[in-house]
C-alpha cells in the first residue's frame, strides 16, 4: 500500500499547512465569502488528520467522524451564506470589516 509507506508526520505537516493557509486567509481577506472559504480550508485540514490517523490507528472512527464534519461544514456554510445575504441587504456590501457600529 502506498499510504503505509508515508510517515504519519507528513500528514500532520500537510494538515498544518492547510490549516495555516486557512488561518492566513481569515486574517487577510475582507470579503465575507473568502472568509467562509478559509474556514472551510481549516475544517478540511482537520479532516485530513482524522482520515489519515483513522488509517494509522486502524479504526474507522476518524473516517466516520469526517463524514459528520463535512455535513456540518455544509450546514455552517448554509447559515453563513444566509447571514452574508442579510449583511449585503443592510450594508450593501459583504466586507466583513465594514460594520463596526458595535464596539468598545
Amino acid at each position: 500500500m502506498v499510504l503505509s509507506s508515508v510517515p504519519a508526520e507528513y500528514y500532520l505537516l500537510l494538515s498544518a499547512a492547510v490549516f495555516c493557509t486557512g488561518l492566513f486567509g481569515i486574517l487577510t481577506r475582507e470579503n465575507a465569502l473568502m472568509f467562509l472559504m478559509s474556514v472551510e480550508l481549516m475544517l478540511n485540514a482537520a479532516n485530513i488528520n482524522l482520515v489519515a490517523f483513522s488509517f494509522y490507528w486502524g479504526t474507522l472512527t476518524g473516517q466516520v467522524f469526517t463524514l459528520f464534519t463535512m455535513a456540518l461544514a455544509a450546514a455552517e456554510v448554509a447559515i453563513g451564506i444566509g447571514i452574508i445575504l442579510v449583511l449585503y441587504r443592510n450594508f450593501d456590501d459583504v466586507d466583513v470589516t465594514g460594520p463596526t457600529t458595535l464596539r468598545w
Binding site: L23, I26, L27, T100, L102, R103, W104
Partner: protein, 630 residues
C-alpha cells in the same frame, strides 16, 4: 472597716438632700415660689444640720465610719469599683464647712439673683443644688473613684453656673475655657485614678485597704498625675499616699510657696474686686499646699478651714458691693461705700484682716502655723522646704498689700461715681450671711491657736487633737499617723534656729505678722485720701506682665488655637488629601484601566480573529517551552 449604727446611717442624706433640691428645682422650679431657691435653702440647711450632728457624734463617740454604699460593678477581678461614705475628722469637719457655705450661698442668692429678677432661676438653683450635692459627696467619698466621679460633676456644675447667662457671648466662652482647663487636669487625675486602681486593685482612702507602699514606676506616674489635678482637700485626703514619697512632698511644698507668691503678685494690679479675690484664693491654696508638702497636715487643714470662712465672707461681701453698685465691679468706680453700707463694710474688713493675716483674726493663726511647720521641717529635714518658706513669707507682704488696697479703694475715700454715691441697698438675705461669716472670721483662729498651746501648755489646740482623735485611728487617717509616715519615708524631723522651738515659733510668728502689717501699711499710705491715684504705673513693664497674668491666657490660647487647632487642620488636610485621596485614586485608576480595556473591542472582526490566533500561538509557544515539545 469601721461601722457605726445610728446617726452615721444618715450621712448619705447630707448629699442626697441637695440632690433632691436639684431635681425639684429642675423639674418643678418654675412653679415654685422663689423658683427653687427655698427648696435649695431647706436642703442645704438640712445638710448643715445633719453634718453638724455628724461632727458632734464623731467628737463624742470618737468613732469614724467607713461604709460601702453602692457597688458600681461587682468586683469580679481584684478591683473594687464602688461608692462609699468615709466619715473621719477630716471629712466630718469639711462637711460642716461645705454645707454651711452652700447654705449661705443659697440664702445670698435670694438677694443676688431673685431680687435682681435674673432669668432662668430654676436652672440656676438646679445647678447650685447639683453643685452642693457633688461637693458634699466628694467630701465624704471613701475612695478615689468616687472622688473623681464627683470632682467631674463639680466641673460640670461650674460649667453650667459660669455659663448661666448663655444668651450673652462672654459667659459661654468663659465656661468653655474654665472647663477645658480643669479637663486638662482631670486627664492626669484619671490617669492617676486608673493607675491606682490597676496597680493596687483598690483606691480606698482609709483603713488597711488603703494605698500600700512601694514606689514602683507606675506609682511614680500616678503621683505625678494626681498631683496636677488634685485639689488641696484631695491632697489631704490622699495624704497617706503622698507621704510615701519625699521628693513629691518637697515639690508640692515648693509649688505651694511659689503659687502663693505668684498669684498674690497678680492680685496686686487687678481693678475688678472679684478678680482680686479670685487670685488671692489661688494664692491661699498655695499656702495650704505648702503646709501639706511640709508635713503640716493639721496646719493645712486649719488654713483650709479659716480660709473657707473668710474667703466666702469676702466673696459675698464683694457680691453685696456689686449689687449696691448696680453690677459694677471696677473698684476705681467705687469708693466711700463705708458710710452707706455699714454691715458689709465691717464684715468685709474683718475678712480682709483675716486674709492679710493680722492678729488676732482667723487667718493669722492658720497662716502662721503653716509657715511655722514649713520652717521647722525645712530646718530639720529638707532645705527645699526653706525655699518654699521664703516664698510663702514674701507672699505675706504682698497679701497684706493687695488686701488693704482693695478695702481702701472700695470703701474709703470719696465716691468716684454716682452709683457709688447712692448705692442700692441690700436686704437681710445678704446681710445675714455676711454677719455669720464675719463673726467666724474674727474668732475662727481659736480653733487651733498652736502658739498659745505651746506657750501656756494649755490643751487649746483643739483642731490638732480633733484630727488626731481616736476616730481617725482605726481608719489610719490620723494626723500623727501621717506624721509617722512623713517621718519614716520622707525623714521629716523638726529643727529649730538658736533659741529652741519656742523662739523659732515666736520669731516666725512675729516676722510674718510684721510683714503683713508692712504690706497693709504700704497700701494704706499709697491709697489713702479722698481720691487716691493709680500707683501701679510706677511698676512700668512689670505691671503689664502682672495685669496680663504673666501672659497665661495668651499661652493657653496659643496652646488651643495656635497648636492644637493647627495640628487638627493639618490632619484634616492630610486625611482628605492623602488617605481619602488614595481611596478615590483606586477607583479612578480602575475605571481608567477599564476604559482602556474596552478599547480592545475594536469592532473589526478581522482584528478579533487576529487576536484569537495570536493568543493561541502564544499559548502554544508558552507550553512548547514549558512542556519541552519538539
Amino acid at each position: 472597716m469601721v461601722t457605726v449604727a445610728g446617726i452615721y446611717a444618715y450621712a448619705p442624706a447630707i448629699a442626697a438632700l441637695p440632690l433632691a433640691s436639684f431635681l425639684v428645682a429642675l423639674f418643678a422650679g418654675r412653679w415654685l415660689p422663689k423658683e427653687g431657691a427655698l427648696a435649695g435653702i431647706l436642703a442645704t440647711g438640712g445638710s448643715l444640720v445633719l453634718s453638724a450632728v455628724t461632727l458632734v457624734e464623731l467628737v463624742l463617740t470618737g468613732e469614724g465610719y467607713d461604709e460601702r454604699l453602692y457597688t458600681f460593678v461587682a468586683p469580679a477581678e481584684t478591683f473594687d469599683l464602688g461608692f462609699g461614705v468615709l466619715i473621719d475628722p477630716l471629712s466630718a469637719a469639711m462637711l460642716v464647712i461645705v454645707s454651711l457655705i452652700a447654705f449661705l450661698v443659697h440664702v445670698f442668692s435670694l438677694g443676688y439673683m431673685n431680687d435682681e429678677g435674673e432669668p432662668g432661676l430654676p436652672r440656676y438653683y438646679a445647678g447650685l443644688g447639683l453643685f452642693s450635692f457633688s461637693m458634699l459627696a466628694f467630701v465624704f467619698a471613701s475612695n478615689l473613684l468616687m472622688a473623681f466621679v464627683f470632682f467631674e460633676l463639680v466641673g460640670l456644675c461650674s460649667w453650667l453656673l459660669i455659663g448661666h447667662w448663655y444668651r450673652e457671648a462672654a459667659p459661654p466662652s468663659a465656661a468653655k475655657k474654665a472647663f477645658l482647663v480643669t479637663r486638662f487636669g482631670d486627664y492626669f487625675f484619671l490617669v492617676g485614678l486608673v493607675g491606682v486602681l490597676a496597680t493596687f486593685g483598690t483606691a480606698r482612702f482609709a483603713g488597711e485597704g488603703g494605698f500600700p507602699a512601694g514606689p514602683t514606676p507606675v506609682s511614680a506616674l500616678i503621683h505625678a498625675a494626681t498631683m496636677v489635678a488634685a485639689g488641696v482637700f484631695l491632697l489631704a485626703r490622699m495624704y497617706g499616699f503622698y507621704a510615701l514619697l519625699p521628693t513629691v512632698l518637697a515639690i508640692i511644698a515648693f509649688t505651694g510657696g511659689f503659687t502663693a507668691l505668684f498669684a498674690a503678685s497678680m492680685a496686686v494690679v487687678k481693678d475688678e474686686i472679684k478678680q482680686v479675690l479670685a487670685y488671692s484664693t489661688i494664692s491661699q491654696y498655695g499656702y495650704m499646699m505648702l503646709a501639706l508638702g511640709a508635713g503640716g497636715y493639721v496646719a493645712a487643714f486649719f488654713h483650709l478651714t479659716t480660709h473657707a470662712v473668710f474667703k466666702a465672707l469676702l466673696f459675698l461681701g464683694a457680691g453685696s458691693v456689686i449689687i449696691a453698685m448696680h453690677h459694677e465691679e471696677d473698684m476705681w468706680l467705687m469708693g466711700g461705700l463705708k458710710e452707706e453700707m455699714r454691715v458689709t463694710y465691717l464684715t468685709f474688713v474683718a475678712g480682709s484682716l483675716a486674709l492679710a493675716g493680722i492678729f488676732p483674726f482667723a487667718g493669722f493663726w492658720s497662716k502662721d502655723e503653716v509657715l511655722f511647720e514649713t520652717l521647722v521641717h525645712g530646718l530639720g529635714a529638707n532645705p527645699l522646704l526653706l525655699g518654699g518658706y521664703l516664698l510663702g513669707l514674701s507672699a505675706v507682704f504682698v497679701t497684706g498689700f493687695y488686701t488693704l488696697r482693695m478695702v481702701m479703694l472700695t470703701f474709703h475715700g470719696d465716691p468716684r461715681t454716682d452709683a457709688a454715691a447712692d448705692p442700692h441697698g441690700v436686704g437681710w438675705n445678704v446681710k445675714f450671711p455676711l454677719a455669720v461669716l464675719g463673726v467666724l472670721a474674727t474668732v475662727g483662729g481659736y480653733l487651733n491657736p498652736a502658739p498659745l498651746a505651746k506657750l501656756t501648755g494649755a490643751e487649746v489646740d483643739f483642731l490638732h487633737r480633733y484630727l488626731d482623735g481616736p476616730a481617725s485611728e482605726e481608719l489610719l487617717t490620723s494626723a500623727h499617723h501621717y506624721g509617722d509616715l512623713t517621718h519614716e519615708w520622707a525623714g521629716y524631723t523638726a529643727g529649730s534656729v538658736a533659741g529652741g522651738e519656742t523662739a523659732t515659733m515666736l520669731g516666725g510668728a512675729g516676722l510674718s505678722l510684721a510683714l503683713a502689717l508692712a504690706g497693709a501699711g504700704t497700701a494704706f499710705v499709697l491709697y489713702r485720701g479722698p481720691d487716691p491715684d493709680r500707683h501701679t504705673e510706677a511698676l512700668g513693664d512689670l505691671r503689664t506682665v502682672l495685669v496680663s497674668n504673666y501672659y497665661q491666657d495668651e499661652y493657653q490660647v496659643w496652646l488651643a488655637e495656635g497648636l492644637t487647632l493647627r495640628t487638627a487642620i493639618a490632619a484634616d488636610t492630610f486625611d482628605q488629601g492623602v488617605i481619602d485621596g488614595a481611596v478615590d485614586a483606586v477607583s479612578s485608576v480602575s475605571l481608567f484601566s477599564g476604559d482602556r480595556l474596552r478599547r480592545l473591542q475594536t469592532g473589526v472582526v478581522t482584528n478579533y480573529a487576529a487576536l484569537i490566533a495570536l493568543s493561541v500561538l502564544l499559548g502554544l509557544a508558552a507550553f512548547a517551552v514549558v512542556g519541552g515539545w519538539l
